[in-house]
């Protein structure tokens, strides 16, 4: 199954019946799949007039209390940022899939990871975060979609599945596990008060500075809980690793090959791979790097995750970077060469 189709199927299996999208390469298969399948399960597929309209339709559906999602790729993700800020400010859950391509501007249509900063640092104006899950296989896309819907509902915040053109277009075997749909009560939903309660208001406007500050403080208190329970990372051959490579998403597959080759050449290399990019799994990065004398970050961008790795390591270890951008995918040989350089420097 293609990665993008796996995302769509997983969303339906996770209980999503409301999808709003707009065409953009390389994620269009998600919309195409939804347009075929949603009518069969009594769901809603709507092709909006713009990315902006699509995310605001998600806002409306989320306010009504249903599981809603949209998907796009980098330039379209930028257009949605206003809506995402309102969704976060209104404490609404939803899922956004970003199938990243090269940027900035119109950039290109080849795979990239250049939205790391946008996803983890500043997806829209104001004080807020969103949950960011970074799968590295078609199979893990399925897990990420379930995790995104569940945790978005649990913590009343938007969640993103940060994939890239490579994962979206990749075809791999995938098993849809029997996973229970975990749901949460939504007493705040604006679905008609039916004379039974005071009216619900979904809103992000607070003209009183004190009230606005209080809502931000309360939201960040919730983020502390998220940071406590959600960070997740994979460690690969790190028990004795002297050179540890940090990578997320599709890049981690390339890095894993390079690490294997390095091991075959007698270099004690390992890899740490954050699965949640926010909350960033700092402790797990630290653990994975405890025996390392050098840490290398490899990404398909200009080094957007480097600062987070440095912070996780409290700048106690040298952190270098190797990346390709613009839609160029680094080869295992290129990464191996970087690992060898670091190993050589040691000898």
């Amino acid at each position: 199954m293609k990665g993008n189709e796996a995302i769509a199927e997983a969303a339906i299996r996770a209980g999503c019946r409301h999808y709003f999208g707009y065409p953009i390469t390389p994620q269009t298969e998600i919309a195409a799949y939804m347009s075929r399948q949603m009518p069969k399960v009594g769901g809603v597929f709507l092709q909006a007039e713009s990315e902006i309209a699509a995310i605001n339709m998600v806002l409306g559906a989320a306010a009504a209390g249903v599981r809603a999602m949209t998907s796009s790729s980098s330039p379209g993700i930028s257009l949605k940022s206003e809506g995402v800020s309102y969704i976060a400010g209104s404490d609404l859950p939803c899922v956004i899939v970003d199938c990243m391509r090269g940027g900035p501007g119109l950039g290109g249509i080849q795979p990239s990871q250049s939205d790391y900063w946008q996803a983890t640092k500043a997806y829209g104006h104001g004080d807020f975060q969103l949950l960011v899950f970074a799968p590295n296989s078609v199979q893990e896309m399925v897990t990420a979609v379930f995790d995104a819907f569940e945790n978005a509902d649990r913590f009343r915040m938007p969640a993103m599945v940060l994939a890239d053109g490579l994962l979206g277009q990749m075809m791999e075997p995938v098993v849809f596990p029997e996973r229970e749909i975990v749901t949460y009560d939504k007493p705040w939903a604006t679905n008609g008060r039916h004379g039974e309660r005071r009216h619900n208001i979904v809103n992000s406007l607070y003209l009183s500075p004190k009230e606005l500050e209080d809502t931000n403080v309360a939201r960040f208190a919730r983020y502390e809980e998220v940071k406590r329970v959600l960070p997740k990372a994979e460690s690969y051959l790190t028990e004795d690793a002297e050179i540890v490579v940090a990578a997320f998403g599709a890049t981690s597959r390339i890095v894993k090959s390079a690490v294997n080759s390095a091991r075959a050449a007698g270099i004690k290399a390992g890899m740490v791979r954050p699965y949640t990019l926010w909350p960033f799994p700092a402790e797990k990065i630290q653990e994975g790097c405890q025996h390392a004398h050098d840490v290398l970050v490899v990404e398909m961008n200009m080094g957007q995750m480097v600062d987070d790795v440095k912070l996780a390591l409290e700048c106690k270890k040298p952190v270098s970077f190797y990346g390709r951008t613009g839609g160029i995918i680094p080869s295992p040989a290129e990464v191996l060469e970087q690992i060898k350089k670091l190993a050589g420097g040691e000898q």
């Binding site: 605001n56 409306g60 004379g195 009216h199 619900n200 208001i201 979904v202 809103n203 992000s204």
Partner: protein
């Protein structure tokens, strides 16, 4: 003693935040009365976007969602699709509906989205202090057209009802005013029809209400009401621009 008048049960006790003499109060009251009379308050969800109407979520007793500037028809679409059995309405100003949200307005209409749109046209941006709106009249002085709106540089005002009437998806489009008692009575009938259409699943209904902004027009409330007659109605003629009921005949 007989009760001769009372506030609609669909209005909360929150004092309206509108300026003295502004027609928003009348229009808000008419919408609340219609919702009450149709008995749909328990299933109604309103959408209030950015502008003078931004606080409207405090005034109605039904569930309310605040939308980003211009996005009310998209938010209402999300609500409508998730809540097929509810009543969904938007309450939008001219900057919101006819400038920053033009795409959302046009496409909700052309989809025939089964929602009711209350469009308050006062020919100015009120909330931000009186700038040129998409509906500001030629020659009208605003904060950003200090020499009067010059269509050669600032473009022409948009006639929304006329434009939306060209779309197959629009079920009903009517322009009304609330500057005289007969006009208020007629406006209420139009708003009621726009809600009834939704109950009857007829599709996209919009009522454009010509309103006043004494504060930013620099007029007394009385002068403002007269200006609606002398300046606004000639450019924005009142009437039904689309009604699928009449076309069917």
């Amino acid at each position: 003693m007989a009760i001769v008048y009372q506030k609609s049960s669909c209005l909360t006790d929150v004092p309206l935040s509108y300026c003295p003499g502004c027609c928003h109060g009348i229009i808000t009251k008419l919408v609340a009365e219609v919702i009450e009379e149709l008995g749909v308050e328990p299933i109604t969800v309103g959408v209030a976007p950015v502008g003078c109407s931004v606080m409207a979520y405090n005034f109605f007793t039904c569930d309310m969602v605040e939308a980003p500037h211009g996005r009310a028809p998209a938010v209402a679409t999300g609500l409508r699709r998730a809540l097929p059995d509810n009543i969904v309405f938007t309450y939008q100003g001219d900057g919101d509906l006819a400038a920053i949200g033009t795409a959302e307005t046009v496409h909700a209409a052309t989809r025939g989205e089964n929602i009711t749109v209350i469009f308050v046209n006062n020919a100015i941006y009120g909330m931000t202090g009186g700038q040129m709106a998409p509906t500001t009249l030629p020659g009208q002085v605003t904060q950003t057209t200090p020499y009067g709106r010059d269509p050669q540089t600032a473009g022409w005002p948009i006639r929304i009802c006329e434009m939306l009437a060209t779309l197959t998806g629009t079920a009903y489009a009517e322009r009304v005013a609330v500057n005289t008692v007969p006009n208020i009575r007629h406006a209420k009938a139009a708003i009621k029809k726009a809600f009834q259409n939704q109950i009857d699943h007829k599709g996209f209904s919009i009522v454009e209400v010509l309103s006043t902004c004494p504060t930013n027009w620099g007029m007394t409330p009385d002068e403002a009401m007269k200006w609606v007659d002398s300046a606004m109605i000639p450019y924005y003629p009142l009437g039904v621009y689309k009604d699928i009921d009449k076309e069917a005949k």
